[in-house]
Amino acid sequence: MERKTREKVVIESQSVRFWNQFARNARDFFRKLSIFENYTHNWRLVLTAAIVGVLPLMMFQKLGFKHHQMVSTVLMLPFFWVLVLKNRFRAGIFFVAAVYVFHGIAAIYLTQKNPMAMAAFFPGGENYWKAQIEWITTGFDPEYDPKNWMPMHFILLVGISFFSVVTLGLIPFYQGFFETDLMNFYVGNLLQVSENQAVALTVGWHTWSVMRGICYSIIVFEMTSWTIEKLTKKKLCETKERRQRWVFGLLFFSLDFGLKFFTMENVRDILFKNLHH
């Protein structure tokens, strides 16, 4: 009995030592990111967001390379982590939004100019566009049936939270580029077949999708911050602040849900009437 207790103590102390070493390594890693901090203030943050969001796409489509989405993700992470480490929540959300907005402008512009050529750079984009235009013209899409999309939204919420913890934002942001590019490619194509470009752009990029983007920016920031706090064993912010972020995140989640549920038919109607007939 005594031997068993002693073995248990040894295993526990080894485990504590391992996690302490892991925390020291994590602190080392995050301390090295301070070289990026200069680029996270004022106009430099905007410029960084533009470069991160646009440059890989522009360069890769010229050179014929794919995977610009992963490159943009990897480039944005160090700056995002710096903002998380400094607990600069608003700047963090602004930075993420700016990266995706700049990226979206470039992606829609390039798609509108040459949809055929750009299809190769947006995986799944062509099928997505076909499904969207069919829904706009016929109103038929089984995926838009609430009993199909509602469970998916909840699974996505769990998935994004989980991958924020296990990849510190890498997979959620990559998924973000992938999903927003489906939208960007579809809107780029929609502009070509629509009368009023402003209507196609603002209504085509559904408001509920924008709400989802804000929701996940908040949740990824919060979950990454919480994970870094646990990994490094250094407090980044108060529990009250974390709770508030979840409330905001879930508020935008509900807005996504509600707007999609109540305004989907109106959106389809506007987009349909705006098509060239």
């Binding site: 602190r27 080392d28 890693f29 301390r31 998916m152 998935g159 990849t167 489906l182 579809y186």
Partner: protein, 42 residues
């Protein structure tokens, strides 16, 4: 002996930290990503 309040681990530990994290996360994504990250119609 080091204690938990020390600042960093020194050496290349930081590299191992990020490698473990990225590789581990990548494996989880390949195995469970398809279940946990559905793509709802925008």
């Amino acid at each position: 002996m080091r204690n938990d309040n020390e600042e960093g681990g020194g050496g290349n530990g930081w590299l191992w930290f990020i490698l473990i994290y990225v590789v581990g996360g990548g494996i989880l994504y390949m195995t469970t990503g398809i279940l946990l990250l559905p793509i709802p119609r925008k």
